[in-house]
């Protein structure tokens, strides 16, 4: 039996369980359906409160981080402080206020944002505080993975420079 013909033999429950099927609407009917839907969605969006907006913005940022972490392209590695800056912009938070909210010295947070904090304990502390600030919507481990990717890239780059230098030395020696 041809695969399309199989669909005709299925019960509604089976169809809805495994498929969303193409509709048979004309372009006009489809356009009317879109307009009806837009009206309903606009009404729903008007009732969204600030707490919900912040939660969705946080989720949006979390998904961006997850996709960045899972992207194997090492040419596009960005540091943890870059993403933290983006996070503040997403939530429309000032650096000073945010440092206070996560109970971190403003000077330490400023240095971190500028990429001038290299102490691992301090970074772990910041990662934990970032996770806590989002009520674990973006867990510390996600922030940690960003940092891990940054370190991994640094090691790969150092290794290739180191290897290249060794090659040069060897070439000179062989001459």
């Amino acid at each position: 039996m041809k695969s399309r013909d199989i669909l005709k033999t299925l019960k509604e429950e089976e169809l809805s369980d495994s498929f969303v099927l193409p509709n048979d609407l004309t372009p006009e009917e489809s356009s009317i359906a879109d307009k009806e839907l837009l009206q309903v969605l606009e009404e729903k969006r008007r009732t969204f409160d600030e707490t919900k907006k912040v939660h969705f913005k946080t989720l949006q940022f979390k998904y961006l981080l997850e996709d960045y972490i899972n992207n194997k392209n090492t040419d596009q590695v960005l540091p943890l402080n870059h993403f933290t800056k983006m996070y503040l912009e997403t939530l429309d938070e000032a650096k000073k206020d945010f440092a206070n909210k996560i109970n971190l010295k403003e000077s330490t947070f400023n240095r971190f944002i500028k990429g001038q904090v290299f102490n691992h304990n301090t970074i772990v502390d910041i990662v934990l505080k970032l996770g806590n600030y989002s009520n674990n919507t973006i867990p510390p481990i996600t922030w940690f993975r960003v940092w891990e990717k940054q370190l991994e890239s640094k090691i790969i780059n150092c290794t290739s420079t180191y290897t290249d230098n060794n090659k040069k030395d060897k070439l000179v020696y062989e001459k």
């Binding site: 429950e13 193409p22 009206q39 969605l41």
Partner: protein, 155 residues
Amino acid sequence: MHIIEVSTGELIEIEISEVVEKDFEIIDEEKYFFDWNEYKGSHKVYKLMISKEPQILGLMALREFQNEYRVEVSLIACSRENYSQSKRYDKIAGCLLAFACREAIKTYGYMAAVSLKPKTVLKEHYQRKYGMKSAGISLFLEGEGMLNLINEYSV
């Protein structure tokens, strides 16, 4: 994200990613019920696979409505081994739909919505199974509805 192996009840870890040109060579109508080439260009097509395994278990075509902050699910199909009472894995379509919610939130934040235009006879089933709301001909998910589905399918 997980699907369930029906015979054992075991949770199986899956990955969803965008279909690349090479995939279209193995996505045929016989196994995936539709001519997915028709959706190339106008839609983003996603595939669901068990982590580190080559078989595609399900496919989904999404159409973006950027001005409306909305993603429309134009088509979902499980592979031929996974569509009926005798299917090998369960929750494939649900995972794909939950993934559509994730992608919508990633793109549109709190404004995000996911919709579909169902066959009339299937409308109630989708509402019951995925908590979708009705807006005339269309069904949609937004706000809490999307979060519920994302949580249910651990996307």
